[in-house]
């Protein structure tokens, strides 16, 4: 799929968060889309292709959701810069599809009015029209189209309603640009802005054909990133800004008020609402989900259900995958004579990669659940409920959303912290985000919990929930310590939109699951494959003359490394082989399973090396005949994995987001230090009590 084919029209999809923009994008593009990042910022870029109703190929770009072009966050800055044609890697769109939530028409029209005034040919999509209809809102689309001078289409992206009309409009080559002007810029400000164009053009900050609005966005103080503009040129911008501020105090607020007044007047002509608000399913459900007690009970129930599903529903497909990898190994063994290469393929590659791929069903269930919560609107309620709790530790509900994302992976979680305005809250959120049990921990938890409680899915589910709760609780405790005790600065209150509950779009959820599952498999097929090979090599070389596999492993590089750290980890109940697993998993947590898979398959010989890893661990004995993986050791390891900072990707992204090595090192120190101390306490106290 080409993303730079200039002969195919590029259509930008623009809208407020929760307006159904991405659902519409998914509906139009299906699987013909790819996800990347805008260079220089950690903002997701989605580009896809579709065909208009007349069979014309179109390129679509799903721009980040925003409330205004006066950017206050990197997401909003990307939206503005793409629409202004300031980003060299993304051409200026040929047309814009403005998606609005029909049930929040007035507020959504604020961004639309700014976008339309940039002069691009546009289509207005009144999405979620069913929600507005249920409230007995009547929107006169024809009148709105007439007033704005652009096509207006009613849609319900979840069901596909209005899709044909939208595709017909997308077919048009003669799409008009709006003639409507919402913001009446006061004469004095207009003159000052017009005068500022010249100097800004001279310095290269804006191009000669830029509209009057472009200096406005530069001068209004909402362009902290000023992408594509040299720092040296910003001096002139600040100078001009100071002169306008001095001559017209409060001019920005005046402009915002003028824009809202125009929108109110527009809505008065096209929108009819009942005198009294109709009670919707959202208000009824919110009485339960936002209730101080019931909301919390529901939250606990949701997470308990997730834990149970991950163990019970995923068990059968996990067994299938385990069986397939077993058969694959046996097939390779039947095909090749004994030797190093066969050993590498069977005990290194198949055993290592299989040890991670087996957890695919659980990853799928996890993301299916997250997708369902996001798509139904429950995720925002979760943040609202958690705001109360977060405020107790000096944060707000906005910190919970990045934290919640970290349950999937800390990398997007740390990135999502960019939406938090207060620098202090943002830093604290970044520091605690990796304490949320990410999907990479799931394979390790599953392996060890299965060892602790074989064939008891309910108990397994409860323990899993306990581990998630432990990470969450610890995150709150550390947030409190950082927020109240160590860092200075103000916290900011949370302003969060509550979207209406809606029927989830199966297509969007499946796309999310597909993207995440694909990323997981690609990782298994690349990084995990590579690490499996290296671990096999470290467990095999240097070769000795001995036939004793155990002696061979002990003399290998991995064995030597394990022995080297054994004095440090022995008080935690771990032996040198677990030490090999711990060293390997400092790159990524799930590598623990791969490492143990390789280590134990190597040691146990060729005949039974494809038995499930768990059985091998359960059968493993120390020199004195005691089992290695006692319940106490498993518990100590579980707690270690809840707390330890073992993810190179997260360390790299924290370095990038904080701009210094200080904070990733603080994170590494406090998390791994806590992991060590708590695991030590569990093992030593448990041993002293006779467990």
């Amino acid at each position: 799929m080409s993303n730079v084919a200039s002969d195919i029209p590029l259509i930008a999809i623009v809208g407020n968060p929760n307006s159904g923009k991405t659902t519409l994008f998914n509906l139009l593009t299906g699987l013909k889309q790819k996800v990347a990042n805008y260079p220089g910022v950690t903002v997701e870029k989605k580009i896809g292709e579709c065909y208009s109703q007349h069979g014309k190929k179109l390129r679509l770009i799903d721009l980040p959701g925003a409330y205004s072009l006066n950017a206050r966050s990197p997401d909003e800055a990307v939206l503005r810069d793409v629409l202004l044609g300031r980003r060299p890697e993304t051409p200026r769109p040929d047309r814009v599809v403005c998606v609005v939530d029909s049930a929040n028409l007035e507020r959504n029209l604020y961004l639309v009015s700014q976008v339309l005034e940039l002069g691009l040919p546009a289509i207005l999509v009144l999405n979620m029209v069913d929600v507005a209809e249920k409230r007995e809102w009547r929107i006169d689309a024809a009148k709105l189209s007439e007033l704005l001078g652009i096509p207006v289409i009613k849609t319900q992206a979840v069901t596909g309603r209005g899709l044909i009309e939208l595709k017909l409009a997308l077919s048009r080559d003669d799409l008009p640009a709006t003639k409507w002007r919402s913001a009446v810029i006061p004469d004095g400000v207009r003159t000052a802005l017009e005068q500022s164009r010249g100097p800004l053009c001279e310095t290269g900050a804006i191009h000669a054909k830029a509209s009057l609005l472009e200096p406005l966005y530069l001068l209004s103080g909402h362009d902290p990133t000023h992408y594509g503009i040299e720092d040296s040129q910003m001096g002139r911008v600040h100078e001009l800004r100071r002169s306008i501020d001095g001559a017209f105090p409060g001019w920005e607020d005046e402009l915002v008020s003028a824009r809202y007044r125009s929108i109110e007047e527009l809505c008065a002509e096209v929108l009819r609402r009942p005198d009294q608000e109709i009670e919707t399913i959202t208000t009824k459900l919110d009485r339960i989900f936002l209730h101080p007690v019931l909301g919390f009970v529901n939250l606990v129930f949701v997470f308990a259900l997730l834990g149970y599903l991950i163990f019970s529903v995923a068990a059968a497909p996990m067994d299938w995958i385990d069986g397939w990898f077993g058969q694959l190994g046996a097939w390779v063994e039947s095909l090749m004579p004994p030797g190093d290469l066969r050993d590498l393929i069977v005990n290194g590659v198949i055993s290592g990669v299989g040890g991670v791929v087996i957890f695919l069903p659980q990853i799928v269930i996890l993301f299916l659940f997250i997708g369902l919560m996001e798509d139904t609107g429950y995720m925002s309620r979760l943040a609202f409920i958690m705001d109360w709790l977060m405020s107790k530790v000096g944060l707000n509900g906005k910190s919970f959303l990045p934290f919640l994302s970290s349950y999937a992976c800390a990398v997007p979680g740390v990135m999502a912290a960019r939406t938090i305005e207060s620098p202090k809250d943002r830093l604290v959120t970044i520091l605690i985000a990796p304490l949320a049990s990410c999907s990479a921990r799931l394979p390790v938890y599953t392996l060890l919990i299965g060892l602790l409680f074989p064939a008891k899915p309910l108990t397994q589910g409860l323990l899993m929930m306990g581990l998630y709760a432990l990470g969450t609780g610890a995150a709150f405790v550390f947030a409190w310590i950082f927020s109240k005790g160590i860092m200075k600065g103000d916290s900011s209150p949370m302003i969060l939109e509550m979207p209406p509950y809606k029927r989830p779009s199966l297509k969007s959820i499946l796309l999310l699951v597909w993207q995440r599952a694909k990323a997981f498999l690609v990782r298994a097929g690349s990084i995990i494959l590579g690490i499996s090979i290296l671990i096999w090599a470290a467990s095999t070389y240097p070769k000795t003359d001995t036939e004793d596999k155990s002696l061979q492993l002990a003399n290998s590089f991995a064995g030597q490394a394990g022995h080297f750290i054994e004095p440090v980890i022995k008080p935690l109940g771990y032996d040198w082989k677990i030490g090999i697993g711990l060293i390997g998993s400092f790159a990524a947590r799930e590598v623990f399973n791969t490492t143990l898979g390789v280590v134990y398959a190597v040691e146990s010989g060729d005949d039974d090396n494809l038995d499930p890893l768990r059985e091998k661990l359960a059968a493993e004995r120390r020199a004195d005949g005691r089992p290695v993986f006692t319940p106490l050791v498993c518990l100590s390891l579980l707690v270690f994995y809840v707390f330890a900072m073992q993810c190179i990707s997260t360390i790299a992204i924290v370095r990038r987001e904080t701009g210094t090595w200080k904070w990733p090192l603080v994170q590494l120190g406090y998390m791994t230090g806590t992991a060590y101390v708590l695991s030590l306490l569990i093992y030593q106290v448990g041993s002293a009590l006779g467990y």
Binding site: C409, L512, R516, A537
Partner: protein, 42 residues
């Protein structure tokens, strides 16, 4: 003979893997971040 070629091939696979990791690490230094392989789906 059979064991010999298998040993050489296994060492070659390991060396290629080491080289690929080194190249990857060098690239990542220029452009840090998850790079799309952390499992986050980005």
């Amino acid at each position: 003979m059979n064991e010999n070629w298998q040993s050489i091939a296994a060492i070659a696979v390991v060396l290629i893997t080491v080289v690929l990791f080194a190249v990857r690490a060098a690239r990542r230094r220029k452009k840090p971040g998850c790079g799309g392989s952390c499992g986050c789906g980005k």
